[in-house]
């Protein structure tokens, strides 16, 4: 019975991760609180590595801030530094997404790029325990 439960647990883990894109991997995830002239900012920093054999145009990353009960209190999606132009808030970004894609610097096989996703404290609102960081899209 114990063996069966263990097998099911392992299987559910494998299935649960099967959908994750394995072309990019997140490393060295760090978080920090900063006081930027009175504005309190929570930032998640990570390295994204292209672990595939082909160049990657961009990696979309999601950060979920989770409270002590496992409930998400805030979430945000961002791109690797070379593809930040894809974010709506970036100044100078073209209105046509295809135009923005041309400005993206691809990540070569084996190379890494930085990901930086920040939250204004006012946008979080509730206490949280940890930040779950995951790759949601690779192109």
């Amino acid at each position: 019975m114990k063996l069966l439960l263990t097998a099911l647990l392992v299987l559910s883990f494998v299935v649960g991760n099967a959908g994750a894109d394995e072309r990019a991997r997140l490393d060295n995830v760090k978080t920090e609180w900063q006081n930027a002239y009175g504005a309190i900012i929570y930032t998640v920093l990570a390295e994204v590595k292209n672990v595939s054999a082909a160049p990657i145009r961009y990696v979309k990353v999601k950060v979920e801030l989770v409270d002590k009960d496992g409930k998400t209190v805030a979430e945000r999606v961002g791109y690797n530094a070379g593809a930040e132009v894809l974010e709506v808030v970036v100044e100078g970004a073209a209105k046509d997404p295809a135009e923005n894609l041309k400005q993206v610097k691809p990540i070569a096989p084996g190379a890494t790029d930085l990901v930086r996703i920040s939250f204004d404290k006012a946008d979080i609102g509730k206490p949280f325990r940890k930040a779950n960081v995951s790759v949601v899209e690779v192109r």
Binding site: W33, N35, G38, Y42, K68, K121, G125, P127
Partner: protein, 86 residues
């Protein structure tokens, strides 16, 4: 005067005993005296309270690092003895 000092010393000892006793101090309700009893300097304690009043309740213990005058050393000294949970 002596009585007042004695009273303050007893208060600090009681607060310290509370912290040592395993009960975590809530950063969102802590008084200056409690923060000092924890090991912060008086000016750091005032900065913590000022930060709370200006930016709202602490959302994470690590937010202490965004408080003016708070260094990593002071933070490490108290991080396991404070909480933000209600």
């Amino acid at each position: 005067m002596l009585l007042r000092r004695l009273y303050s010393a007893v208060l600090v000892l009681l607060l310290a005993a509370q912290v040592v006793g395993g009960e975590k101090l809530n950063l969102n309700t802590a008084t200056k005296e409690q923060l000092v009893a924890l090991g912060l300097s008086e000016s750091q304690a005032l900065q913590v309270i000022g930060h709370r009043e200006k930016s709202g309740a602490f959302l994470q213990v690590e937010e202490l690092l965004a408080v003016q005058q708070m260094n990593k050393q002071s933070f490490e000294k108290i991080r396991d003895r404070v909480t933000v949970d209600e």
